[in-house]
């Protein structure tokens, strides 16, 4: 069947088109070149492998095109990606790159693909082409691109990614430790407490703000249960399911599921409409909690200047100040490295 050969040829052309656009990380450019070389090798060797193998690989290559096409340097929400990169680095040591997709609807997801594992194994072990970069795709609403306080939802999505990548909840299910909850609900609870490791109580405010008092459905637990679960985790209350999640996380990742944030003092600089100086990664993540607190607590906004703005403008300005604070931290860090 020549169709598989043709498909790989078409994918190769798609990949070659992507070379025209700049990426923030040089590794992505190298990865792209390696994929193109791999396509060439597959085409040269055709029909050495069975058609089903070509089909298997072309499906995986399509995914790679999808992951790479939406993440050029102009589109990426740089500040949010920088924070997620730090969090990801706590768990995942494989060479990786966060790629982004901006959605026209209100939705968030974090996507990894088993297809990449297949490509990596086949390219490295059979074609002898080094493919060592894991592409991870984050998707967020385009309208929220510059609203980091909304985008803390991506920490929750990162939790899903870590769960799937290391099979944490699958290990919990294998050991029948799910306390009778459905697989979907377990995954949501895990992603919530993972997010709270970095953004603490901001997760609770975000849940209340975005989901109100939603009842449980097939995919998600009720907001009330989610809030209780995260509260138990943050307060260190004894909860058998949380204990099992911590244990499974430890076995699969060899990392501890614990809080990793520290609150920076933002009142003074924010009241002067200045970004805050962030001292370390813990404060970088804690900035989101401080930002939500600043918005929720009008007494924190002591300077009269705030009274000239309506609530929407205040929300926008606080988000801007958070973005600038993150950007300054990343620039100083790069300068010092």
């Amino acid at each position: 069947m020549l169709i598989n050969k043709t498909e790989i040829y078409i994918i190769k052309n798609q990949l070659q088109n992507l070379i025209k656009y700049p990426y923030a990380k040089q590794e992505v450019q190298i990865h792209l070149n390696n994929l193109i070389n791999g396509c060439d090798r597959l085409l040269d060797k055709y029909p050495e492998y069975p058609e089903q193998i070509y089909y298997f690989l072309s499906t995986s290559l399509w995914k790679a095109v999808q992951f790479l096409s939406g993440s050029t340097i102009n589109e990426t929400p740089y500040e949010m990606v920088a924070c997620l990169d730090k969090a990801l680095g706590d768990w995942y040591s494989e060479k990786n790159s966060l790629t982004t997709a901006l959605l026209s609807e209100k939705g968030y997801f974090f996507l990894s693909s088993d297809h990449q594992n297949i490509l990596k194994r086949f390219f490295n072990d059979t074609l002898d082409i080094k493919l060592d970069l894991d592409l991870i795709q984050i998707a967020l609403p385009k309208a929220f691109r510059n609203y980091p306080l909304y985008n803390i939802a991506l920490y929750h999505e990162l939790g899903h990614f870590i769960d799937i990548k290391f099979s944490i909840i699958n290990l919990l299910l294998l050991g029948d430790k799910g306390e009778g909850l459905s697989e979907n609900h377990l995954r949501e609870h895990f992603a919530d407490i993972f997010a709270s490791c970095y953004t603490g109580s901001a997760v609770l405010w975000f849940l209340q703000h975005c989901y109100g008092d939603s009842a449980a459905n097939d995919s998600h637990p009720s907001t009330k249960d989610r809030i209780l679960f995260v509260t138990d985790f943050l307060k260190g209350n004894d909860n058998p399911l949380i204990n099992s999640m911590i244990e499974c996380c430890d076995i699969t990742t060899r990392k501890a599921l614990k809080t990793k944030f520290k609150l920076p003092s933002i009142e003074e600089p924010f009241n002067d409409f200045r970004p805050v100086r962030i001292n370390d990664e813990a404060e970088l993540h804690g900035l989101f909690i401080a930002g939500w607190e600043f918005l929720r607590n009008s007494s924190m906004r002591e300077k009269n200047s705030w009274k000239y703005y309506n609530e929407f403008e205040i929300f926008k300005i606080v988000n801007d100040l958070i973005e600038k604070s993150i950007r300054n931290y990343v620039m100083v860090e790069k300068w010092n490295s």
Binding site: P50, I53, F56, T59, N117, S167, L174
Partner: protein, 104 residues
Amino acid sequence: MIASNMLNSHMSGNFQLALLMKLQKTSTSQKIEDYFDQLVHQVNLLLENADLSKERIIPEAIDLALKIKKTKPLNKAFSSLSKYNEISEKDAQQLIDILRDHAD
């Protein structure tokens, strides 16, 4: 096609790829064979509830063990597996068929 159905399941991709290569008599590298053997070893440990504290667990082994636990025919077919180079084409075909029939 077998491959398209198999790829509907995001789990156990390398396990299935290795079986497919066995079935199609495609020459495999030693690395793929070693990975397969380690995977099978770890799945068996997980299914036996063995102490895993000293193992670096392959996530695919957890996914596969869970799938085997939930899927009786797969449990039976998997129990006869040992080394990659000892798998017959008939066994590989049987496993592929079961995985296809029970794709998530």
